[in-house]
């Protein structure tokens, strides 16, 4: 099953490689991994999307907690949460594609953030599945380039991951 794991870690050199190394050394899946510094500059917040059986997820959480630099770990799937991902898609904007892309972009509540002679660059945020759905909905042959950030997740309401 797909899980979104959030963690806070010391903002130190090499901290990211410890997490990435743990996943590769123990053969865990990573669908996406995002990391950036928090409002407290000594802490980084990471969101990892992974898949595995309940036993594997339990081990992943324990192994992450065991890393010395990791301050707190939360499996967002344990409660209500929100996830968002940002995608930038560069598509052909010539002929039939020109209006079609604008329409699809509106339907998915995206924004065109760059217009060139022959292409649009569309910015889209949402859950990973919404971004997948957008890719499915448009004509594949019109896609020139896609960039996705991977998911960021946060608990709803009172579920707060803080030191």
């Amino acid at each position: 099953m797909r899980h979104i794991i959030s963690l806070l870690m010391e903002n130190e050199a090499g901290a990211l490689s410890r997490v990435a190394g743990l996943f590769s050394a123990r053969g865990y899946n990573i669908e996406s991994l995002t990391v950036a510094v928090t409002e407290d500059p000594t802490l980084s917040r990471m969101t990892i999307v992974t898949t595995g059986s309940d036993d594997v997820i339990e081990q992943i959480i324990k192994q992450l907690n065991k890393l010395i630099d990791v301050v707190k770990v939360l499996d967002l799937n344990d409660g209500k949460h929100i996830e968002r991902e940002l995608m930038l898609v560069k598509v052909k904007a010539t002929g039939v594609h020109k209006d079609e892309m604008k329409r699809m972009c509106d339907i998915f509540r995206g924004r065109i953030i760059d217009v060139a002679d022959n292409s649009y660059t569309i910015e889209l945020t949402g859950s990973c599945s919404k971004l997948d759905a957008f890719i499915e909905a448009i004509d594949r042959s019109a896609i020139l380039e896609t960039v996705r950030t991977g998911a960021s997740g946060i608990g709803r309401g009172d579920r707060i991951l803080k030191v």
Binding site: G14, R18, G21, Q59, N65, K66, I68, V71
Partner: protein
């Protein structure tokens, strides 16, 4: 660096170089021995240690041996072992030693030199990314980039190494940092928001465990290296005695319970005794203490799980619990503290008696199989016989180190360890070549102790250069070489599973070990006759001040039994031909 590592009470700081700071930190930690090898990136540190007389530096002949010796020193004493190596090849040579310590959870601080900070990343001479290379095989590691960070980092390194589930910590220090000057303030305490091991077990869980133990009909206690490392042996003995339960130890856990006690059923696992494996498989309540149900211990996990039993698991590392086997009552905490709590709760119980008579008669029936039986020969030396005689001659009091292979299993099966921290071997990583440096570490830990290194002719050659270190420091180690002219365990598997195709398991051109030992100024002995084994051992151990290298020419085709073959269940053991034929005769 986290400023909270500094304590507010530190005063009168003294200004000194980074190298002097490193040395001062080690002395603050009351380190007695540093095992190491000098080189370019650590020259400032070597100059600083030349000018101090706190700890003693032990010069090995290869960095791998430095880490192994520090590791064994820690296993024997419980203190943190310390090694010092240079950058690049010095650092990579240390990696096998670090990985060995990591797999067996041994607390080490390994200080490695690094090229100067401005040269990092430029492929400088003797540069290697030590933090990157060691990341998968350390508890934690640090690259120090400022001289003021040296002291707090070393303080943290010792703290992390020895607390919680212990492990090796690498501190990589660039050369220029060791020449810079800073005030030396050694923090008194360490506080880390990201690292707070749980030591006290959950009282509700402990009570539940005691209830389960008291209600057990077929109980079993299974303890591992964690019991030894956590200094929990005395509490465990108290608990086992109060309950009259059978106890088995893993390879790493030998000595955790006295092997000569009647409640001890021997080691379990791939080469465990029949009674230990059968009792482990068929018990109804299992108390696991500082052990991790690994593949060499429980055999096929599906087969093991096929038998219903309630498992209580005490471990300081939450990730060891329910990793390979689902556990019913997990107790996270320091084994000594949890066992003491258990003993206390047990003492308050009105009815402490357990009904285990039927179970014991079943166990004694299994014992009657005598699975460690072997056929003595008066023409060729049986390796098991050498270990039995070694146990007798040393009165079971020696520190015994081993390498890896058949001889390791025979040592574990036939030397009866009554005390913890006497059996020193590489259980997790299975590193050939540890035996001799391990013996060095033990001899430094206790200079008057009897130290025996049980080894094979394959393993001993992997760190044979340390004969020189033993000569330099006058270490009176006794090497017990069980020389069968084969990589014995490889040969055994090739006999069983590869139709006797002995691919590269025979060693030609062995050195004359007697002459080799003598060339270093040691005593060499060759023993070829079974009748001479005991006398030779007595003679060797009587030479209290000499290093004696004993080359026993042993039976080339002897195999280790019982054996749980790969993928088989724990109770599906292959018994030795002599045991099997005896059992057939009795039918």
């Amino acid at each position: 660096m986290d400023a909270s590592a500094h304590s507010a009470t530190d005063t009168h700081a003294k200004s000194m170089t980074g190298a002097d700071i490193v040395v001062s930190c080690l002395n603050e930690e009351k380190v007695k021995f540093v095992f190491g090898y000098p080189g370019g990136a650590v020259l400032h540190i070597y100059d600083a240690l030349y000018k101090q007389n706190g700890f003693k530096h032990i010069l090995v002949r290869h960095e791998q041996a430095a880490v192994h010796a520090a590791d064994a020193y820690s296993r024997a004493t419980g203190d943190v072992g310390v090694a010092l190596v240079t950058s690049g090849p010095g650092a990579t040579n240390a990696v096998t030693g670090i990985a060995t310590a990591y797999m067996d959870s041994i607390p080490l601080v390994v200080i490695s030199g690094q090229v100067p900070v401005p040269a990092i990343g430029l492929d400088a001479f003797q540069e290697v990314d030590m933090v990157g290379v060691t990341r998968p095989c350390v508890k934690h590691n640090f690259l120090v980039k400022h001289v003021k960070d040296i002291a707090p980092t070393i303080k943290k390194a010792f703290f992390i190494a020895k607390t919680g589930r212990p492990g090796p910590v690498v501190v990589d220090i660039p050369k220029d940092i060791t020449a810079h000057v800073a005030d030396f303030i050694y923090p008194k305490t360490v506080e880390m928001r990201s690292y707070n091991p749980i030591l006290k077990g959950h009282s509700g869980q402990i009570k539940k465990a005691v209830k389960l133990l008291l209600g057990a009909k077929r109980p079993m206690i299974y303890t591992g290296g964690g019991l030894v490392l956590g200094n929990g042996a005395a509490e465990l003995v108290k608990l086992a005695k109060a309950l009259n339960f059978p106890v088995t130890n893993t390879l790493m856990g030998l000595g955790g319970y006295p092997a000569t006690d009647k409640q001890f059923v021997g080691m379990l696992g791939m080469h465990g005794t029949y009674e230990a494996n059968m009792a482990m498989q068929h018990c109804d309540v299992l108390l696991a203490v500082g052990a991790r149900f690994d593949d060499r211990v429980i055999g096929n996990p599906k087969h093991f799980g096929g038998q219903k039993r309630t498992i209580i698991h005490i471990d300081v590392d939450p990730s060891s619990i329910s990793k390979r086997v689902k556990v019913d009552v997990p107790i996270v905490g320091d084994v000594q503290s949890v066992l003491a709590d258990m003993n206390e709760i047990l003492a308050q119980e009105e009815n402490q008696s357990t009904d285990t008579a039927d179970w014991w008669s079943q166990i004694n029936e299994w014992r009657g199989i005598q699975s460690l039986d072997y056929t003595y020969s008066d023409s060729v030396i049986k390796p098991q016989y050498v270990v039995q005689k070694l146990w007798e001659v040393t009165k079971g009091e020696a520190y015994v180190t081993s390498d890896v292979g058949q001889h390791q299993m025979w040592a574990a099966q036939y030397y009866k360890f009554d005390k913890p921290r006497r059996w020193i071997n590489s259980g997790g990583l299975g590193t050939m070549g540890v035996g001799l440096p391990y013996a060095m570490g033990c001899q430094f830990a206790d200079k008057h102790a009897q130290v025996a290194c049980i080894t094979g002719e394959g393993s001993i050659q992997m760190n044979i250069q340390e004969l020189s270190t033993c000569a330099q420091y006058g270490l009176p180690i006794k090497v017990i070489l069980l020389n069968n002219r084969y990589l014995g365990m490889v040969r055994q598997w090739q006999e069983f599973f590869y139709e006797n195709r002995y691919s590269e398991s025979y060693m030609d051109s062995l050195p004359d070990f007697v002459k080799l030992a003598e060339s270093y100024g040691h005593v060499g002995m060759r023993i070829t006759n079974p009748a001479d084994v005991e006398g030779a051992l007595k003679e060797a151990f009587d030479r209290k001040d000499k290093f004696v290298f004993m080359d026993f020419l042993t039976d080339q085709t002897e195999n280790v039994f019982p054996m749980v073959e790969n993928g088989k269940g724990l109770s599906e053991m292959v018994l030795s031909p002599s045991t099997a034929s005896r059992l057939k005769g009795e039918e």
